[in-house]
Amino acid sequence: MATFTRGFGGRRDDRDDPRIPPGQTLVRDWPVLSAGATPEIEPSDWSFSIRTESGLHSWTWDEVQALGVEDVTVDIHCVTHWTKLDMSWRGVPLDRLFADVETSLDYCMVHSFGGYTTNVPLDELLDGQAWIAFEADGEPLTPEHGGPARLLVPHLYFWKSAKWVRGIVMQSDDEPGFWENAGYNLHGDPWKEERYW
């Protein structure tokens, strides 16, 4: 029944740019989206842990940094239709943390300070597909953007790049995290527009 309103502008159609997934619009700023209050965590209070069926592995801030920080430039795609191209980040590849972790489980539940969770298959966090990231666009991550550290998984919609990340719990099934329970897609591939259930 929609009535068009004269003069109200729609979004730019960026479909022709092959770097922009379907349904996305290019932005140059960096919108802030959140489901709750912003945690304020100092690096000195921060730790990251991976819980497997056999035990718990933990790293302090300095221990994660010591695994080797690299520079990456990636495109990020938010399910709310904005895309940011060529964003520079600094972080530690998750491969380096999982190098010492033995598990037969295939799925991860990523946990954040503040209670947020999101699920990702383990094989989509390895092989150079994911980082624990500390800096974006040359600056340390601010709390509103998930600092001091967030997950970065750019090949999936950006809600999977959990802000204020604090650890991973391995799981035998692809159980849904917070937004996946609320209605968003379990997987979240922007190129297949896997947005909702």
């Binding site: 959140s34 709750g36 329970n181 609320a182 947005r195 909702y196």
Partner: protein, 84 residues
Amino acid sequence: MTVLDGNALAGVLIGFLGSDPTVAALRCSGCRTVGALAGTRVHASPMGFVARCPHCDDVLVTVVGAPGGPWVGIPGARVALDAD
């Protein structure tokens, strides 16, 4: 991201929480406080709405606006509707 209250859900929750969602009574499963939806803390962003208990901050209601209509979750509460 904006922090509002349950008045902001008056439109989108019609049919899920009766014809006037703002007066629906919610009992928080976490702290057992009872209050009207209008009094909940609502975090609104393009991702969706998250209504939290004003006392213990537990998530009471989630709303995700999919193209076919919203997905509404009530993971953290029991609801009693006002007599229509």
